[in-house]
């Protein structure tokens, strides 16, 4: 949970300092005044990434040398911590005034889940976005996942670099990387499969909030190492063997094309409504609702895994396409626990009389 936030030179904010309510915070303002920037700042402190850009230097205010974000946060009743990020020529991270050098030691000091317009891309957008959803979600739940993913990515990049230079690197050098690739890759696959399983069991309940009960929403994980239908979920050895076989089978093609064709980096997650893929058949509204249902199901899984309700929900006006009943369901579900930071053009009825309301205007923020 976030207790306070100080933003300097970030997007359209010069310098603002805000104390936040432990439950409901509503940011009200017209378009383009900085509501989403506020959510982005919170998200960056939690995960050191943005949900809008990969170019972090873009987050600096125009013509400024650096941006700085600071917050006071707690997680599940632990003593509060002071986090700060200063992003100038290089990024400097501090927790309680002590420098932190590894990203993995800084992120997830408080846990964030977003409900933002871009969520819709989870259904319709590129597969990269769905893998990113799985990866970020899992790294919030398991430190081992992030570690394995980093090893996998490093081994994969090394392997691809070798595949592009077959004069310098022989078969045996390339195959030397297979061991790390297979070990970390299978660990990634196993956690993803388990996550999809859990997501599905929550999705069944959450989708009825937004869809009619006779419509069944589900997700399916398509492994990047070929069909794993006959492989049981907890059999790492069998999966490793499958992956090794897939690498062997694709080796010729990998060499010809200069990159690795199989592995968790090629996995895909498809969303099905009554067993039809929404990627090709979903309407605008269906995709919006499906993405919200998946986010709520993820929140559910996250709460169970962390065994805690202490999660900060960043909500950026996503109810536009929902009818009133569904909007009511949406707000009720949001209010079921955790801290909410909601950004919108007006104060929703469901939040009236709860927590704090802030007015955001041209990069300034005032508590009402």
């Amino acid at each position: 949970m976030l207790k306070s936030l100080t933003i300097s030179n970030f997007r359209n904010f010069d310098r603002i300092k805000t104390e936040l309510d432990s439950h409901v915070n509503v940011l009200v303002g017209s378009n383009g005044h900085g509501k989403t920037n506020f959510l982005e700042a919170v998200y960056y402190l939690s995960l050191l990434r943005s949900f809008r850009t990969n170019q972090i230097s873009d987050l600096r205010q125009w013509k400024k040398d650096f941006f700085r974000l600071e917050c006071e946060c707690t997680q599940s009743g632990m003593p509060s911590r002071h986090l700060s990020v200063t992003y100038g020529n290089e990024r400097r991270l501090q927790v309680n005034g002590t420098n932190i050098y590894r990203t993995s030691d800084f992120i997830n000091q408080f846990i964030c889940v977003t409900f933002i317009p871009q969520d819709k891309d989870l259904i319709r957008g590129s597969e990269v976005l769905r893998r990113r959803f799985m990866d970020i979600s899992l790294s919030q739940m398991s430190t081992g996942y992030l570690r394995n993913l980093q090893s996998y990515t490093e081994a994969l990049r090394a392997r691809n670099a070798m595949l592009k230079d077959r004069v310098k690197y022989t078969d045996s050098t390339i195959k030397a990387y297979d061991h790390v690739l297979v070990k970390s890759g299978v660990a990634v696959e196993m956690e993803r499969r388990e996550f999809m399983e859990k997501l599905n069991s929550s999705l069944f309940e959450k989708s009825s909030l937004l869809f009619s009960p006779d419509l069944i929403l589900s997700v399916r994980y398509l492994s990047g190492i070929g069909s794993l239908l006959q492989v049981s979920y907890d059999d790492a050895e069998q999966m490793e063997e499958k992956f090794r076989m897939a690498l062997r089978k694709n080796y010729e093609r990998d060499c010809r094309k200069g990159f690795t064709h199989c592995g968790p980096h090629r996995a895909e997650m498809t969303c099905l409504l009554n067993l039809h893929s929404l990627l090709h058949f979903g309407s605008e509204g269906e995709c919006r609702m499906a993405s919200l249902a998946i986010k709520f199901a993820f929140l559910d899984v996250l709460r169970q895994t962390l065994n805690s309700d202490d999660i900060t929900l960043l909500v950026d006006d996503v109810t536009g396409e929902l009818d009133t009943t569904r909007q009511d369901n949406f707000y009720r579900e949001l209010l079921s626990g955790g801290q909410i930071i909601y950004a919108g053009t007006f104060l929703p009825e469901a939040f009236r009389g709860k927590g704090r309301v802030f007015n955001v205007k041209s990069g300034m923020i005032a508590s009402l």
């Binding site: 090893s151 090394a158 670099a161 690197y169 045996s172 050098t173 195959k175 030397a176 061991h179 790390v180």
Partner: protein, 201 residues
């Protein structure tokens, strides 16, 4: 005056090439050298100018040494059946300080690192092969770093030399001795658990 006299600037330039030395420290070092006597300075110069000839790589293992062969290779009390493969000569000192290893070494000169363009040809593999072929070695201990590239290098070496009748082993990874487990990082603990061993009962 925004710059030091040219000779001093050049010295600062050289000092700041050392690892861990920033601009400010380099300035302090150079200014302090100004207070040295002429004898000290000329001796310092001699040490530097003869460094390349005075310190060489051991013709057998690649360790840094004064003569053609390093003290480890010359030491007839060492177990010549054991060879520990390390990335850099500087790591030999660490093994020696542990006092528990009495075999020989082989310096690879790095690890496989395709992302920085380092391949098998950039490692001292031919020298290692020569040593294996001349016989007498029973065990090759692979002591490359326990990171992605180091692991891959170890697997590469294991395969590369599998045709020789030599036992190939990998150093263990785990929790540092004498440390409190409460402060161990989770990655190391996970590996330590994987590599657990039975105790005699």
């Amino acid at each position: 005056m925004s710059n030091y006299p040219l000779p001093l600037e050049r010295l600062i330039g050289y000092f700041s090439r050392f690892p861990g030395v920033g601009k400010r420290s380099a300035e302090r070092m150079a200014l302090s050298a100004l207070s040295w006597t002429s004898e000290e300075l000329s001796d310092f110069g001699d040490v530097l100018s003869s460094l390349r000839e005075a310190v060489k790589a051991c013709a057998v293992c690649g360790n840094i040494c004064e003569g053609d062969l390093c003290p480890v290779c010359l030491d007839c009390g060492r177990n010549r059946e054991l060879v520990c493969v390390v990335e850099h000569a500087s790591q030999i000192i660490q093994f020696e300080r542990s006092g528990s290893y009495h075999g020989l070494y082989h310096v690879l000169g790095g690890k496989l690192s395709p992302l920085s363009g380092k391949g098998p040809d950039d490692l001292r593999l031919a020298e290692l092969r020569d040593r294996l072929e001349s016989g007498g070695i029973r065990e090759l201990i692979l002591a490359t770093s326990p990171d992605v590239e180091g692991e891959a290098t170890a697997h590469f070496l294991a395969r590369e030399f599998s045709s020789y009748s030599v036992k190939i082993t990998r150093i263990a990874s785990g929790v540092p001795i004498g440390s409190d487990l409460s402060y161990a990082d989770s990655a190391t603990l996970a590996i330590a658990l994987e590599g657990r061993r039975g105790l005699e009962q």
